[in-house]
Subunit: 182 residues, 2 copies
DNA sequence: ACGATAACTGTCCGATCGGTCAGGACTGAC
DNA sequence: GTCAGTCCTGACCGATCGGACAGTTATCGT
């Protein structure tokens, strides 16, 4: 049942991306992918040198797109630089949504599982950050701040002294929320 | 060698937090923790019902702190609500830095490993978002935007239609960067 | 001193997973 | 037809991991 010119390869990548995005990379076994595709596990390893190579091939387009963006803005400066970078970065993340999701699935699973109910609390936090507003723009901004603070706090300490880090995180977050200081 | 009142429990939690923060939850085996503490793997399972229970106990204080924060701002509204929530959330993430890091370690490891060099590109992106500035405030804001867009793009589609999501992500990001539109 | 309880450990087990390998099946060139 | 090369598979392997359990050691109340 040898398929033409390894159409199987494409199916493997597609199944892998979908399963990775749902159960995470580590949470998806080669057998899971093989079952989803409808082939044997050995077949995966015929087309790809290893499990990680599948992930690599899945993430490479996004990496290349990012590299292209950086090249494009390399000559810019000032306002144009920031503007083009932001727009380009946003478009890029939207285009590679599933790829980004797969990176996060491990966190989601870890937070949801067990006795913890972090997700419920995250909803409450989102609500408060949005000022109890249900307007999509406010909700999006709330998500932005949630993610921004979360990731920035995990940053290397050397980025900025703790006091600067704290003050600037607060100011930047309030700006993102379009909050006019009272 | 029965230690007094299970001082071992505390050491286990401390070692686990440190190892989880470095190698991730899945990347740290019970044996790793046991070796680090200097006891047997069976001893871990005497004090904790399972590996996940260790994680639970590690994450519970942060969860409780978040719940407390939400309680505190429950009665507020308007500007005060947003302000207090942001400050409280920032302080909270800073206080539980290591706990948050452990959630991210899997991503970091996945991005660094293999042939991908995402981290290098992330540096370039950070540079551009900061407008090539090396000032800590600008760097922090750049980190904020990097994380904000990254996480928001992984959000459920139902938060906002794609067009709204895109437009608002861009506007919010530019505000966070204190960018005055040209 | 001694029994009871808590603290701790060595050893074993089942399951899972990534990966290897020899060989079968199909295809196209000659 | 046949030969070579590509595609694919079942069976197997070694390693790892979380966990179970019986048994040992230390602690403490009496």
């Amino acid at each position: 049942m040898a398929r033409s010119a390894s159409a199987l390869r494409g199916q493997i990548l597609e199944s892998a991306l979908r399963l990775f995005a749902v159960h995470g990379f580590r949470g998806t076994s080669l057998q899971d992918i093989a079952s989803d595709v409808g082939c044997s596990k050995a077949s995966l390893l015929y087309h790809f040198a290893g499990k990680e190579k599948i992930l690599t091939e899945l993430l490479t387009p996004a990496q290349d797109a990012l590299a292209t963006l950086l090249d494009r803005v390399a000559g810019l400066e000032g306002g144009r630089l920031v503007e083009e970078t932001v727009v380009g970065y946003v478009d890029l993340t939207l285009r590679f949504r599933r790829e980004i999701r797969l990176l996060f699935e491990d966190i989601t699973e870890m937070s949801c599982h067990q006795d913890l109910n972090v997700m419920e609390l995250a909803d409450g936090l989102l609500d408060a950050l949005a000022g109890r507003s249900q307007h999509p723009p406010a909700r999006v901004a709330a998500w932005m701040v949630l993610g921004a603070v979360f990731i920035t706090s995990a940053t290397d300490d050397e980025v900025a002294p703790d006091e600067v880090l704290r003050a600037e995180m607060i100011r930047s977050a309030l700006r993102a929320l379009d909050h006019t200081p009272s």
